[in-house]
Structure formats: structure tokens, C-alpha cells
Symmetry: C2
Subunit: 446 residues, 2 copies
Amino acid sequence: MKEADVVVVGGSAAGTVAGITVKRHYRDASALVIRREDKAMYATAIPYIFGTIGTPDNNIIPDSLLADSGVELMIDEAASVDRVSRTVTTKGGEVVGYERLILAVGSTPVHPPVPGTELHNVFPLWKESGLLERAQHVLGRAKDIVIIGGDVVGTELADECKKMGDVNVTIVETLPHCLALALDEEFCRLAEDRLEQRGVKVITGDGVRAIVGNGGVNGVELQNGGRLSADVVIVESRGAPNTDLAKDMDIKIGGARGVWVDEYMRTSDPTVFACGDCAEKFSFFTGEPSTLRSASIATYEARIAGANVFDLKRKNRGVVGVLAIAFGDFAVAQAGLTEKMAREVGFDVALGEASALDRYPDSMPGAKEVKTKLIFDGRTRKILGGQLCGGVAIAEMANILAAMIQNEMTADEVATFQMGTHPCLTASPMSYQIVNAAEQALTSMQ
Amino acid sequence: MKEADVVVVGGSAAGTVAGITVKRHYRDASALVIRREDKAMYATAIPYIFGTIGTPDNNIIPDSLLADSGVELMIDEAASVDRVSRTVTTKGGEVVGYERLILAVGSTPVHPPVPGTELHNVFPLWKESGLLERAQHVLGRAKDIVIIGGDVVGTELADECKKMGDVNVTIVETLPHCLALALDEEFCRLAEDRLEQRGVKVITGDGVRAIVGNGGVNGVELQNGGRLSADVVIVESRGAPNTDLAKDMDIKIGGARGVWVDEYMRTSDPTVFACGDCAEKFSFFTGEPSTLRSASIATYEARIAGANVFDLKRKNRGVVGVLAIAFGDFAVAQAGLTEKMAREVGFDVALGEASALDRYPDSMPGAKEVKTKLIFDGRTRKILGGQLCGGVAIAEMANILAAMIQNEMTADEVATFQMGTHPCLTASPMSYQIVNAAEQALTSMQ
């Protein structure tokens, strides 16, 4: 029987980082990752396969990340786990013993219940190499592409499709705005404006009643009565926690339908940990169950689970949520709560806004306006979230906000943040957006 | 007699932000900035006048920053202050009454004592419009440029001179490396390598004994015996706190030769505040006097002084120091202490390093390697500093480090930082440099 001190089931972002983290913290322990896929894919880079990076084979998480850390990789699928004998049995027939098990089995795709998804040239977008290759082949020859769903993947894919050539691309989003789950309305509008400038048609507040065609797709019927021609339809997928194995193992499932974990990322069996999309999450701000999922959150949890396998070193503080979306050299990003979310959960919201170019003086070539909105708790004055739109540095600016949020900085502390600036790389020290937005928020808190 | 509730003497970065901050925090108070220069210049953008933005007139801090905030601007120079009658008398003969005075008079240039600076076509580099116009005129026709001093301004200017055309540019730096006051040796070397790739000749560990010529400069003699041809010589300036007015006012001068201030930025006269280059500084890390000066530090202090004029709202926590340097699309940046500084002041240093591309997957076009080094206090595990080199987003990454330092995050907290990532904008969540460098540092702290 094969044995490893720590066996990780799943080899995407969470599983890979969990394995690496085990070896960092317990050098003498052996770690084995069991991964179903021959090649693991970066889920978040999937939209970029089509216009920018060329093929699914260019979107592979290098196995060297594991090998360089001394983590063994087994390409196989866990079929069952015996928690008494502490063994995993794989579909390939291997039996692997463990001291500690980490479940990092990710999520499974969920699609809106639209009739017609069985038609030829209708593709759900999911990290499956064969599917993506077929989609790419067809998209490359399409004239009319309809994308059902205008969240992150749908909007980024739309922009990528425009890069492939002279093609009509339409997003259909049932919510009042694209990206409405991630951003406040004014930032959604900025993103939609940019998509439209780049030639994408955006339909919001309307859904697809049916995908229609005769064998092959030829259009979609909208709920509000319109009809769009389409020779390819892409359906944006959402993920739901993959809990099949956990249920078979009879470990606890949480209220948000993920594998239940405690603050150390232990499941109801303390020798079994879980992290990533399959694991239950809670909000950093409210402690309530959260359905936020991302590769970044997955690796955060993996760094906790991996460090805790033999010694409880780290606690999960809950999901903050940090996100960036790019269309060419334009990007929107957010960290923490939006204004809408903050109001929904009952915070007494105070807002601050500031805009400035991301270089200085104004004559510096290539400067882009960066618009910033910060959300504070008016009672405690702590920063709850922020949104940015502008050029390519705003993803790291959102990470500045993330650091401020995780440290529960007050508006006064943000307003007296000691940042560095540079004429070619940032706003001027007089106009630094995050600081000035905090100063502006303070005027409404006095 | 003219009167304002708050009079600010000086209208560069510190004075401008001090005036704006007064109006933000005390809407009903009147604020007046007395500025000597007809137009105020961004000091840090001076190197970019020559190759990128064209003329000193393109490097102007807009007066609208003051006007839009309701701050009055007077172009004049404060000649004397009577602290008993609370009046400023200007060189133009105006007498201005104040309730609170803020000194933001900046620094004055100091040059190395090299013989020959009186020769024609030898220029100290300082924010003085006429001087910069003359230098630009001459630099545009130069064949052999020698820059004495390889700190931030000297290195950036060298790179800009290469952009002006086919010209030989040589930096002469007495320290063992360019930028040696700001960065650890390995990052200095990366910057020097980049300068050399861009065609700049770098001579370090050698000084200029004399600038030579006959009326006009024709070369420099090196301390180690060499000689360089030069038709233009630029001498990098350093600033020293401008304390003339403060001395005339008989207020206290500090141990680092700046205007002494308490933690609220009050001078020894509690109705007089000081901020920016003229004000005494102390280290965030040690509490000892600090000679760090920058526009960013100046505005940080101005936000404290301005908020405190009528009510002590904010405390100065001392200078962290955050800096970025750019040569085209390559940049180096740092926050807090370097390894060298940390060792010098007696910290038990623990280091962590990580490198990764700033986009993912590896096939993403335009990706640049970002090298990261973090410095921790091995005893308390708190982050003391960090250095980065890579592409244009690293200035904001240095600001993430700045936020972490100001919140005294431990290595474990940095390693479990919840960041956001994006294929076109950041490293992958598995390879995020700051987090992985903290994980690496932890392996030496266990």
C-alpha cells in the first residue's frame, strides 16, 4: 500500500498550494497530491484562451510547482475514503494511506435552466480542456456570438471574442447590470461603457427564454420578446461546492452547501481538512456563511489548511473578497464590501470618492484616470471596502485596500497612510486616490 | 491688514496639501498659502522634463488644487514672522495676520564640494525653472554628459538623457553602488544592470576630484585617476531642511537640523506647525531622528499638521519611507527598512524572497518577472521592509508593503494575506510574490 503523511485530493489552485504549504511547514513530512486532470488549468485565465494566449494548452498550472517543493503528484481520482483505516482508494485501484487528508476537490459547474443547451455550438464555459478546444475552434469561425451571463467570465470572454476578429458579440445578463454581483452600479456602468466602446453589445435586465435552432444553434429568444441571431452561444457557468466525496465520507456539510470547516480549516473529522471551492466559507465582516469563491480565496485557505495539518498554527478570519476585471488596458477592481452589500448587512455607511491620473504631472504620457470609491462603517470608522477603475496598476491598488481592510484601518488611518509615489507609476502624493477618498469620507463623519 | 485663520508659508507638496487639509477639516476657517514661486514644480518629476515631458512648464502643480479647495494663494515670500502679534511680513511688503501658522518652506540644495562647478555648462539639478530650462537647452545638444551622483535623481536623469538621442551618458557615484542609500546591494545591481542595458555607463566607488575646462566644461577628473570627457556636467543635489525663517522666529531646531516638531507637528510655539522637508523627522521603526525626505512624506505630514491646527486630531507615527524608481517599463521599489538598515539598527533580521511573473499563465503576453525580498524582525516576526523589482505595478505593490508595515503585520499574517489576482494584472494566486516571500521567511523563523 502506498502511503503519505499528508494526502491532498484535488490539484487545482487550492490543492497545489495546500501540498506546497505542507512541505514548507513540515519539511520531513511526505505530501501527495491526487489530481484527476492530466493537466491542471488556471480557471480565471479561461477567457484569455480565446483571444490572447491561443490554446487551452497555454493555460496550464506547471507541475513543477509541486515537484520543486517535493510534493508527489498522482494522476488519478479519489473514489472513496475510509476514515477508520485512513486510506484513499482511487478509481485507478490504488489504495493510499494517510495521516492527514486535505479535501481540495473544487466546484462543479451550474448553469441557468435554459432550454436548448443541447444544441450544437452551445458551450458552457468550464475548465475542461476538450470543451474549451471545441469552443475555441467554433468561436474562431463565428459571426454572431451570444454570451449568456455578464459576470466576470462572461464580460472578459466577450472582450476576448472581439479580439478574434470581425464578429458580433452580445452579452445577455438578467441582472440590471453586468458585474452587478461584484460592483456598485456606477462601476458596473463604467465597465459596460468600456465593453460597448470595444464593440460588445450589452443587454441587461433581460434573460434568455430559449436557445433555438435546428440541430445547430441559430439564435436566442429573450424573455422580453426580442430575438438575437447566434451561430455560437456560450453559457457562463457558476460553480457549486463539490461535496460528493465528503458526503460519502459522512462528514458535515455547511449551511452554504460547502464542506463544513472550523476556523482551522478542519472538517468534522479533525484528521481531514478542506479548502478552496469545496469548503464552506464565512464573511470576514459579518461571520455569516458566504458564497464568494475565487482562486485567491482558495489559496488563502490552502495556506491555512496546509500549515495546520500537524499543529494548529493559523486561523481563518473569513472571506474578504478581492477581485479585478480587465478589458485590454482598462480594469475595474474591488476589495471587501460594496456600498450595496454594506447597506444590506446593516452598516451605517460613509462614502469617500476621489479621482486622479495614475501618473504625474498631467503631461506624463500614458496617464489614465483612476476613480476610487471607499466604503466605511460610519460608526467604527473602519474601512469595509473599496472599488477602483482605471489602468493596469489598480489590481495591486485593490490589494492595498485589501491590506487596509484586513487590518481594520479607520478612515483617519487611511487618510494618513504613508504611501510612495512616482511620476511614471502612481498618482502624485497630493492626489493619491485612496488617501484623498478617505479624507473625503471623513468630512461626512465629523 | 490682510488676515487668514491659517497661513501656510510655502506652496510645494507640503504647503499645498496642508492648505487643502485645513479646509477639509475646518470648512469655515480661511486658509492662505504664501508661495515664493510663480509656478510650483513637482520635484520628483524633474528628471522627466528632459526626455519625456518636454519642458519645465509641463511639470507644474496646478494652482486649481488650492482654488478648488477654497484656499487663497498669494505669490510672495515670507520675510519675517512676529509670533507675538501673529503676523507674517512678506518681501512684497504685505502684513498678514494669522491664528495658526504652518511652515512648509521645504529644503535648500546642497552639493558635493567639487572644484569647477562655476564652469559653463555645469548644472546642479534643482527645482528652479530658469536653471532647468538652461540645462535642457544644453543637454539637447550634448555629446558627452557626466552626472555626478547616482541616487534617484541621478539615475533617472541618466536614463532620460539617453532618450534624447545619441549621447554618451556616464554616472559617477562615490558609494559602491548607485541607489545604495535606498536599496540593498542586489537590488542596486539590478538597477545598474538595467541602466547599462539602456546604454548608460555606470562608474561606482569613485568620485569626481575636479570638474575641468576652460570657461566651458570639457571633462571631469576622477579620484581614482581616470578622466572623462564632458560637454555637460550635472551635479545631483541633496536637500537640507530650510530653517532660516524658523531660526529668525527663534523656534526650536531638532537634532537632524529640521524644525523641531512634536507628534502633532507643532513646533516649540504651539500656534506654529511645520511639515515637509523643513520639519524634523523620526523613524517609524526606532523613534530616532531621520534624514529621509520625500514629497510623499511631506504630504503625509501636511495631512497631520493641517488636521491639527485647531484640534489635535492626528499623531505622526514617524517616517516609514516608501520609494519607487523607474527606467522605462522597468522599476525598483522599496518600503520601510532595507536589510542593511535593519541590521545597522540592531534588528535580528529574517529574510524571505520570492520571484514570479506579474501575469499568468506564463504564456500571457507582456509578463515581467517580479523579484521580491521581505525583511522581518525575527524576534517579534513583524515586517520591517521590502524591496521589489519588475514592471510598472510594483510601485503600488510597494504600497501594499507600506500598509503591511504601518499595521505591523507579522510574517504569518503576510503569508495569509487575502489578495486578489488577475491573469493580465498580477501574479497567480499560487505564486503571489509578497505572500510567498513571507512563507519563505517563516521557514527560517521556526
